[in-house]
């Protein structure tokens, strides 16, 4: 497995890009660790697939270099990069048996037969297709075929990286749970470098050690799932991670005092907002406490979604989402408190804080 260096990479699909707007991928300059599990997460059009294609060699970046363990591979074609890929839809040989589909990449590389057999059986076990080993792939269902694709991506252990492009899209919701935790276990066991593209937050957050959040051709934050949740560095991350996303309220900051509409809150520090044109307070719905004390709030709607309730309210003239546990009480004359440790202040969409 390999460390991946993304060295000042930019990419434009059109010729002769002049302004930042022309780049589908704005500057990416990062080093990804050997053995890391990275998820690229963002809405469609954010540049995540472009970045994956640059790593796999399907796309040559307009600028910058890509290195695997210090070796420049920028101009190497996909097949010379020693990577395994799993795509959104199954890519398998219909006329081969399930077993041979998995053995194929190993036989191609002249791996000894006993080693092939051991590895293929391990993978068959993992994707729960042991009983189907001798069946032709042709008659299988779409999600069984996709499981074979996944297995093929994982069967070699000598690749530099394994790249996944929305691999669980066609998989049944219940099977997703099983495969996700299998992937995670495998990663723990073998320490593969994995890059996983998805627009599904649960998939990204449960799979990765590091989630790379992309927005409008830029990486806006790379962090652990906990960091993205607790300290989103950009309001987009706050909005995109979490369901419902973070409440972002227009605010005014004076020293350690924040004003939202007619409400004033005290912070334990004075955020450095500089000369920002736009200041906002971010608070996640999970950290808004609904009770009989605190600031006035007007409840518009309560959505009972089974394991918790989502309360839609208006606070200081702004919409506010609040998460209440399954057995949580919603008082008639409700008031709210913001957990002080969970408040973030944003200046022109970027988080400022004690750390900044």
């Amino acid at each position: 497995m390999a460390r991946i260096d993304l060295d000042h990479i930019r990419h434009a699909y059109g010729p002769r890009p002049t302004s930042a707007k022309d780049y589908a991928l704005k500057e990416v300059h990062h080093e990804w660790n050997d053995g890391g599990a990275y998820a690229l997460l963002g809405p469609s059009g954010c540049g995540k697939t472009t970045l994956l294609n640059i790593i796999s060699g399907l796309v040559q970046p307009s600028e910058g270099r890509i290195l695997f363990d210090g070796v420049d591979v920028t101009h190497l074609p996909t097949e010379k990069r020693n990577i395994a890929q799993v795509f959104q839809f199954p890519v398998i040989y219909d006329t081969m048996t399930v077993y041979d589909n998995l053995a194929f990449p190993l036989r191609n590389r002249h791996v000894p037969a006993a080693e092939i057999d051991r590895r293929v059986r391990d993978i068959l076990e993992m994707i729960d297709l042991s009983h189907w080993a001798d069946r032709k792939a042709r008659g299988l269902t779409a999600d069984q075929k996709q499981k074979i694709s996944l297995g093929r991506g994982l069967v070699r252990n000598d690749v530099s990286a394994i790249l996944f492009d929305e691999p669980l899209t066609v998989i049944d919701p219940h099977m997703k749970w099983v495969l996700r935790s299998q992937l995670k276990k495998l990663h723990r066991q073998f320490g593969f470098t994995m890059v996983y593209v998805t627009h599904d937050q649960t998939e990204a957050l449960t799979f990765a050690d590091k989630v790379v959040v992309m927005y409008d051709g830029e990486i806006v934050q790379i962090g652990t799932p906990a960091e993205l949740f607790e300290r989103p560095s950009h309001t987009f991350v706050g909005y995109f991670i979490g369901s419902p996303g973070m409440n972002v309220l227009p605010a005014r900051v004076d020293g350690s005092q924040v004003t939202i509409g007619d409400q004033v809150l005290g912070l334990d520090h004075a955020p450095d907002i500089g000369s920002a044109a736009k200041v906002e307070l971010g608070i996640r719905p999970e950290f808004v406490r609904l009770g009989r004390e605190g600031m006035p709030v007007e409840i518009a709607k309560v959505e009972d979604i089974g394991r918790q309730k989502i309360v839609r309210a208006r606070f200081a003239g702004q919409p506010l989402a609040i998460v209440v546990p399954e057995d949580g009480e919603i008082p008639t004359d409700a008031r709210v408190r913001f957990d002080p440790a969970a408040i973030s202040i944003y200046a022109d969409s970027w988080r400022v804080g004690k750390e900044a």
Binding site: P43, S44, K185, R188, L205, T224, E230
Partner: protein, 360 residues
């Protein structure tokens, strides 16, 4: 009101829909929830008149419409794929059903603008669909279904191809649209969380059968059988085969946990016990919590929540905990099961009703 009376559909030797009865009221949102190939699309095609039932009859507002073709019914459909006229502007796309119906220009203009406003498409009316994002394209298709003023609107996984944030926004908008129009809305999905967010009523489907129909949250909380409970669970339901003996549930003759009050009336003998992952916890916070020893398998952290996979007496369970809990795999720990929410099923899979006084 749409009524399906003993409606079935067989194609060759294959049964697509087993005989079913269903009554949908005007002004309601009705979710068809089930995995792929459970019969959701087949049922919608029967409702629309795209297919003829093999048996039974379909009635609309009391009138038998069984043989009526889709063109003769007042039905609108929205599919998973975004279907618009690529050469027409968004405005003309939305206007098209009214032009076909021969409405006058002033009415068309008023209705298009109203629908565009409702679906936040006003800035894009002059664009063609291919210059829009997926979410805007699907909103265009939805707007067209709305202006058609159909009495039955069928939505077949309309949000499946969209980013989840767009889905979140549209899901919030949809119930509002439904409430405003007075039509019967039918919405097919494979995802339990989508059904819960939409609310309304839910019919669960499994292998061509409607297993239950009722208010969404009722079906979720009180499934009539194990199949329905399974269909309506994400994260997956935790299930275990136990034997009730007096006040205890036993697993292979070893005491697992005490029988909670709402199941005390159950007869002794084998039973299937099921519960949702959020009824397991690392700490004994809930009043009905009972300690269960487990072995940890793996934890998945989403930031706001952790999914901790554990093994209890050879059975794999998922625990959903708030916050971040990165637990070492393969360790023996004690966790707590809120037994007030246990569901019990008999050997035939039918739910064993909770004792009314003790119902959680």
């Amino acid at each position: 009101m749409l009524e399906l009376k003993n409606v079935s559909k067989t194609v060759g030797a294959e049964v697509h829909i087993h005989p079913c009865d269903l009554v949908l009221q005007r002004g309601t949102l009705n979710v068809l929830l089930g995995p792929t190939l459970s019969g959701k699309t087949s049922l919608m095609r029967l409702m629309a008149g795209l297919d003829k039932p093999s048996g039974g009859s379909i009635h609309f507002d009391g009138k038998d419409v069984t043989g009526l073709r889709v063109q003769e019914r007042n039905v609108a459909m929205v599919y998973q794929q975004f279907i618009n006229y690529p050469a027409l502007s968004v405005y003309e796309n939305i206007a098209s059903p009214m032009r076909i119906a021969g409405k006058d220009a002033a009415t068309i203009d008023r209705e298009v603008r109203k629908a565009a406003d409702l679906l936040k498409l006003t800035p894009y009316l002059e664009r063609t669909p291919l210059n829009l994002s997926g979410g805007q394209q699907q909103r265009t298709a939805l707007a067209r279904a709305i202006v058609k003023n159909a009495s039955l609107v069928l939505l077949d996984e309309p949000l499946a191809n969209l980013d989840y944030k767009l889905r979140e926004e549209l899901r919030e908008e949809l119930p509002r649209l439904f409430a405003a129009s007075g039509a019967i809305f039918v919405y097919a999905t494979t995802e339990p969380s989508e059904a819960l967010l939409l609310g309304g009523n839910t019919a669960t489907l499994s292998q061509g059968r409607i297993t239950q129909f009722g208010p969404t949250i009722e079906v979720y909380r009180r499934p009539v059988d194990l199949n329905t409970a399974r269909t309506f669970a994400d994260p997956p339901l935790n299930i275990i085969e136990l034997t009730k003996r007096g006040g205890q549930f036993l697993r292979q003759d070893v005491e697992a946990f005490a029988v909670p009050a709402h199941l005390a009336h159950m007869a002794d003998g084998p039973a299937t016990i099921a519960f949702h992952p959020h009824h397991l916890a690392l700490a004994p916070a809930a009043p009905g919590a009972q300690r269960v020893p487990v072995r940890t398998l793996i934890s998945e952290i989403t930031g706001s929540e952790s999914f901790i996979h554990v093994d209890f007496a050879g059975v794999r369970w998922v625990m959903l905990e708030h916050g971040i809990h990165d637990i070492e795999p393969d360790r023996a720990i004690d966790i707590y099961l809120d037994t007030r929410h246990l569901m019990a099923f008999g050997p035939d899979g039918a739910a064993i009703a909770a004792a009314p006084a003790a119902a959680a």
